[in-house]
């Protein structure tokens, strides 16, 4: 038997070269374009391509995109934050209650209360994970339930109207030079998030921590501090998403964000972030989030029953995630 050759002839073929391209990096972009083109053709007479509908998709996905940015940091550091949905509700309610209690302080107090609540929850998660060294999955699973309970008890299930016009303009229905404020928030958050993640030492330390925490520690990276910080970022981003929800809805309720967790996780994973850390993409998460929004929108406009929408959405997400994760195991 001849020894195996080190360079298999097939490896240099175009097909082999194509197979070596890391599909994971592109699956979200290819998926986004494919879904968009599919709906654009199938729903050409059903309002899909109207500017109003496309703007709606961007507006509707803004809070999930903001949450996704925080989750990219947490996942890239090798942790997960399952409490982001509950954080959204608590932050939105804190902001609304603060503004209702002191209307004269209005906008600033609302923002401080909302973001402050997000940071506080992030701090609790971060301290438990980074310094008590408890697994983030279990910690945030527990705090997800805990803060969902807090959100319910804060107002005895009642919703709180948000009447401050500056707040609702800034975080909801307002616009600057014709660009909706929610789109501006998305662009700013994605821009800053991408810069911090890609261009700063902190971003590199997050990835190093997620890739191999022991090695990161040996190289002098303060791993506990990095892990605490990613939870603070995740909490703050969820807090900002809470402000966007309450601004857009002009009310806050304990249900806000409750159903977003799975959508956000799917968006982030499809967008090229690894579940077990060491790799992430803010731009991928943005496109992943828009892809989820596109999917929801198109399936509704196709006139599918709710059950069929759920089945098709599940299958498409499964396919996209399968392609992403299959690549990571090679």
């Amino acid at each position: 038997m001849s020894p195996p050759s080190t360079t298999h002839p097939a490896e240099s073929s175009p097909l082999a070269r194509l197979s070596r391209i890391n599909l994971q990096q592109y699956v979200v972009y290819v998926g986004f374009v494919a879904i968009f083109v599919f709906f654009a053709i199938v729903l050409r007479d059903s309002g899909f391509l109207t500017s109003r509908n496309l703007v709606n998709i961007a507006l509707q996905t803004a809070p999930a995109t903001i949450m996704a940015i925080g989750l990219v940091f947490a996942l890239s550091a090798g942790d997960i934050d399952l409490s982001i949905g509950s954080t959204v509700a608590v932050s939105a309610l804190c902001a609304a209650m603060a503004m209702a209690a002191m209307p004269e302080a209005g906008l600033l107090l609302g923002v401080a209360a909302g973001i402050g609540a997000g940071l506080a929850i992030g701090l609790v998660n971060g301290l438990l994970v980074a310094y008590l060294r408890l697994p983030s999955f279990l910690v945030t699973l527990a705090t997800m339930g805990l803060f969902a309970g807090v959100a319910r008890s804060l107002t005895q299930l009642r919703s709180i109207p948000v009447t401050d016009s500056m707040f609702t303009g800034l975080f909801g229905s307002g616009s600057l030079f014709g660009i909706p404020s929610l789109v501006i928030w998305t662009v700013v958050a994605v821009g800053i998030g991408h810069f911090v993640f890609r261009q700063t030492r902190f971003g590199a330390h997050v990835l190093a921590t997620g890739d191999n925490p022991r090695a990161a520690m040996v190289t002098g990276i303060k791993v506990p501090r990095i892990r605490l910080t990613v939870f603070l970022i995740s909490g703050a981003m969820a807090g900002l998403a809470g402000l966007l929800y309450s601004g857009r809805l002009q009310a806050a309720k304990y249900t806000l964000g409750e159903t977003d967790l799975m959508t956000v996780i799917a968006a982030v994973i499809v967008g090229g972030t690894l579940l077990n850390g060491g790799k992430g993409s803010i731009i991928g998460a943005l496109v992943g989030s828009l892809m989820m929004g596109l999917l929801n929108n198109g399936l509704i406009l196709m006139g599918l029953s709710v059950s069929d929408q759920m089945i098709v959405r599940g299958l498409i997400i499964l396919a996209a995630v399968a392609v992403s994760l299959r690549e990571t195991t090679r």
């Binding site: 899909f48 109003r52 299930l157 709710v306």
Partner: protein
């Protein structure tokens, strides 16, 4: 528990605690409007033909789909089909007000002529339905209306269950179960939920004021349905003469059943609200549940669709339409299930009844 209870938090009512009232409680609409029975809303053959030729469309933006709202949805779909109105989109907000707002915006891209919806959060209704208002859809609400919306101008009508009527029928069923005389244990929903509060108070009022042979000898609030067994156990131990129990809805009633079995109290009769398979099975098997009181959920959908269609023809629709409540007992379980939910009772219930 039916999750649409929460959606009806804002339902306005003139009801005060029943014991303090001299007059029988009545169901009123979100803005205090008097209730109109749905049967008053009919379409002529000529109107139906006009609708069929109009090329109209409809969309649903549900709060959440489960057995009760599924029955409402099916009623609306069947009625739209009868009127030649195509349903172009349907959404389920998972009881999330923000998602319902997104859903409304999305379905409006199909420019439906009618939007049927149960508001997740009436207080946020103005933002939730802004796109529908702007798009010119005829908005028909189920159970509750968006706060600040004006009947006839912003929305067509609200179609709801007759909540006080349900409480009244529950008292009637208790009277039948105890043959006009007995000691009643009254377990009420101890929370600020208008739907259950109205039903509970109406039941109590009618026991105290309509049925002389019935006495409420024990009262207990139930804040958490998971604790129903402790509550029922304590009530029956302290009041062994109780032979009738009111439980605010069917799910906790199945917990009371297990307490009765443990205590060997097969003499106690239970009346409760909503159709539920385990409760229905106990009832038809000769168990402790004497009757289940239900609203005509399917008809809520039928008349919501019809109200929207009538509005398209320029007709005025009353602001608050209510469907009947019905008593479902062992003798009418098949018909009652069909009438309430628009589909057959579960096979286990039907088989046990034969």
């Amino acid at each position: 528990m039916r999750k649409h209870l929460i959606a009806a938090l804002g339902l306005a009512t003139a009801l005060t605690p029943a014991s303090a009232m001299a007059q029988a409680p009545v169901t009123v609409g979100p803005n205090g409007e008097p209730a109109t029975p749905v049967a008053a809303l009919q379409l002529t053959d000529a109107e139906i033909n006009q609708l069929k030729q109009g090329g109209f469309t409809a969309a649903f933006a549900w709060h959440e789909l489960y057995d009760w709202s599924g029955a409402v949805a099916q009623g609306a779909k069947d009625e739209f089909a009868r009127l030649g109105i195509e349903v172009v989109a349907e959404t389920d907000a998972g009881f999330d007000a923000a998602r319902q707002q997104a859903d409304v915006e999305t379905v409006m891209s199909r420019s439906p002529s009618i939007l049927v919806s149960l508001p997740v959060d009436p207080a946020a209704g103005a933002s939730t339905y802004a796109a529908a208002l702007q798009g010119g859809a005829k908005i028909v609400f189920v159970d509750n209306a968006a706060a600040g919306f004006v009947h006839g101008q912003d929305y067509v009508t609200t179609v709801s269950a007759d909540l006080v009527g349900i409480g009244e029928k529950t008292a009637e069923a208790m009277n039948q179960a105890l043959a006009g005389a007995g000691k009643v244990g009254y377990i009420f929903h101890d929370a600020d939920f208008h739907v259950t509060n109205l039903r509970d108070a109406a039941f109590k009022w009618h026991i105290e004021n309509t049925y002389d042979g019935l006495d409420i000898v024990a009262e207990a609030g139930m804040a958490d349905p998971a604790r129903i067994e402790d509550i029922a156990n304590a009530m029956l131990l302290q009041n062994p003469d109780i032979n009738g129990l009111y439980v605010p809805w069917a799910e906790p009633a199945t917990g009371v059943l297990s307490v009765l079995r443990q205590l060997g109290r097969d003499d106690v009769r239970i009346v409760t609200i909503d159709l539920n398979e385990p409760a229905g099975l106990d009832m038809v098997s000769g168990g402790s549940i004497a009757a289940l009181i239900a609203d005509e959920a399917y008809n809520i959908g039928v008349y919501a669709a019809r109200a929207g269609a009538a509005s398209l023809l320029g007709r005025d629709v009353d602001p608050f339409l209510v469907v009947d409540a019905l008593i479902v007992g062992p003798a009418n379980v098949a018909e009652g299930w069909q009438q309430s939910l628009g589909h057959a009772a579960p096979p286990s219930v039907l088989a046990a009844g034969n």
